[in-house]
Symmetry: C2
């Protein structure tokens, strides 16, 4: 499911498979003594010692200093060291790029953001973000050998197993392009994992805010519309890694919500940023793009408020189906249009709570995203961190 040429040796080099469980205990439980580790894992003393030596040698585990708040430091307390390595997270949108350097927990330590058109093509775009990445690592005081991997989010369908975009609608020149190969050559980091940007936003939001919720749906409403699905506590990519494509589904119309616009249109043609801006222009309101729509809505422009609410209803018609199908505990709505306040969400809530089944909506929460500019970078780093610490996703 999650193989990238050349990565097996890389991840195996950081944490050998047989030491992952041991490291997992330290990551989950916090600092422990060797005796506690032996008790919790049942490992033979010689095995435990050998595996700890590996982890200590790699710097992933170190004597813990911070736990000595009461009665002095317990001897031999060991802890996971998230600071041991660095990860580069790259988040590309239609018109922006954010590059961040994180630790193994995904904490963003430094970042650079630029306006940058993904339509300029892979060579120009990846060349520029590589420059930003190099400047971040150069300024970090850490050697390149500390960078264990690069995570990349792209605004289109990605075959996760190869890291290649597949017919991405808003990324001319990127179809089938070998993103990992170019970044490996630019940055000299063997492990490069690529995914759809919305999957990574879902992963980041789940890790930072909703880690106790097993079933989460993240919906991004911007130039395009897409979803990231966390089910059973794990990001679900589907068989080819294309899960979450909401933008190209048809919107169900009924007698009380007759078709407006082109009845053959998909959700993106009705509820995306460009679609809402077009609706406003047709009414004589000057709105070039999603940013203009958000600005108008912030000033309570009646046409913009009404158009956002209708976009929310159209989105809600599709999400009502998704809620019946997946029964998520929370729907997080992000992307440019979600920044316009409650208007979009009000339309979503109105339709979803009215249309989905009683059981599926009983404890359903629909909220705006909390992630800021570096939300995509966090998700990209979490993808890499899970890969090198937990191992590749099971086949």
């Amino acid at each position: 499911m999650c193989r990238v040429t050349g990565e097996d040796s890389v991840s195996a080099g950081l944490v050998p498979p047989d030491a992952r469980t041991l490291l997992g205990v330290l990551r989950d439980a916090g600092p422990l003594t060797r005796a506690q580790l032996a008790e919790r894992t049942g490992l033979a003393r010689t095995t435990l010692t050998a595996r700890l030596e590996t982890l200590l040698g790699a710097g992933l585990v170190a004597p813990a200093g911070g736990a000595a708040s009461r009665g002095g430091r317990p001897p031999g307390l060991l802890a996971f060291r998230a600071d041991a390595r660095r990860i580069l997270g790259i988040d590309l949108g239609a018109t922006h790029a954010v590059v961040g350097l994180t630790d193994l927990a995904g904490t963003v330590l430094a970042s650079r953001a630029e306006r940058l058109a993904v339509a300029d093509g892979p060579h120009e775009v990846l060349g520029r973000v590589s420059e930003l990445a190099r400047s971040l690592v150069a300024g970090s005081g850490r050697p390149w050998t500390d960078v264990v991997g690069v995570g990349v989010g792209l605004p289109g369908p990605v075959e996760h197993s190869t890291g290649q975009p597949v017919r991405p609608p808003i990324m001319p020149g990127w179809d089938g392009f070998d993103v990992p190969a170019l970044l490996r050559s630019e940055l000299g980091v063997p492990l490069v994992l690529v995914d759809n940007d919305v999957n990574l936003l879902a992963l980041g939001e789940h890790t930072s805010t909703w880690s106790t919720t097993d079933d989460l749906l993240f919906v991004k409403v911007a130039t395009g519309i897409g979803a990231g699905i966390v089910a059973g506590g794990r990001l679900q990519r589907g068989a080819q890694g294309s899960a979450g494509d909401l933008g190209h589904v048809r919107v169900p119309f009924t007698h009380d919500t007759p078709p407006h616009g082109d009845a053959d249109a998909d959700l993106e043609a009705l509820a995306s940023g460009p679609a809402v801006a077009r609706v406003l222009r047709e009414q004589g309101v000057p709105a070039r793009d999603a940013d203009d729509v958000v600005e108008l809505a912030r000033h309570e422009d009646p046409a913009a408020v009404q158009a956002l609410r209708q976009a929310g209803r159209d989105l809600g018609e599709v999400l009502a189906t998704v809620v019946n199908l997946l029964n998520p505990g929370v729907i997080v709505v992000g992307g440019t249009l979600a920044r316009a306040g409650e208007h979009l969400l009000a339309g979503v809530r109105e339709t979803v709570y009215g249309r989905s089944t009683a059981l599926a909506t009983r404890d359903l929460t629909i909220v705006p995203a909390t992630s800021k500019e570096t939300g995509g970078v966090l998700g990209a780093a979490v993808m890499v961190s899970q890969h090198v610490l937990d191992g590749p996703a099971e086949p």
Copy 2:
């Protein structure tokens, strides 16, 4: 996610949590020696011995006799013993009940089937299936103490954590009924797990036929329409256990597929067995129910063939959205209407391959179900088996 009153002590009693990994190695790898087990698990010899004693004492592991095909039997070879315990699987449909006795691998050893109306209410229905269950155990030559659990599939939404139906449309008298409590009292088996019948068909089909496919969608088209979702290799029930409700979603209509019938109708009102029978009656073809439709289609009645193909297209309109969303590797179509040959599937394929994205349909297989009468019993038994051997689903 998966708690049932009184079950923790039960499952803990069968396989203590710290012995589950060891048992899992034997289940996956087949017969192994103690030395091989020590090598594969890294367990200390005393720990390994203690855990093996537990499993040997419970009869779940035993010296293996069957592996001696070449050069005599290796000394001390140990194997998982699926025959060590029994599971009762109960599959209730709208108008039938199947009760089966299985081993820990879900193999159905004996079963009883009856026509039985679920609308008769929980006391009458569960009383009758309890009689069938008692006769199966009595005829098995095994004591009741060998029965580790009862798995039940119901034809409606079930809150899996409590085992209670929630507003089931075709089950009058069952809303909020404590199914586990009644069966515990009738059968004296503490562990009773209940789920939607379609989830269990998905689990059974995945276990028996598609275990190497991580992402599977099972769709049942009968009196109702529902789906069971396997994503990332695991059955996904959602936050309240209601995932998979396809019957109550709206069907998207477009210019080239204009609404037929009531445009406010949900999928079940268009493509279920009763809906197709009604369409035929409106054309003067005598069809009382789904069985009649299947019989007509088997004789290539043109009206029945056309109605089934249209039902397949309507189902396909909804599945096109699901495919974009979940990107399954396989869609398995079961239920009464799927027994009518290829007509229903032809309509499904026509629409899904035409509407869903190229990446999501590239390697998508759409096939009829292989499970026979005892498919639901197999799934119910697998649910119980996973619970007692692997432990309750993680929170």
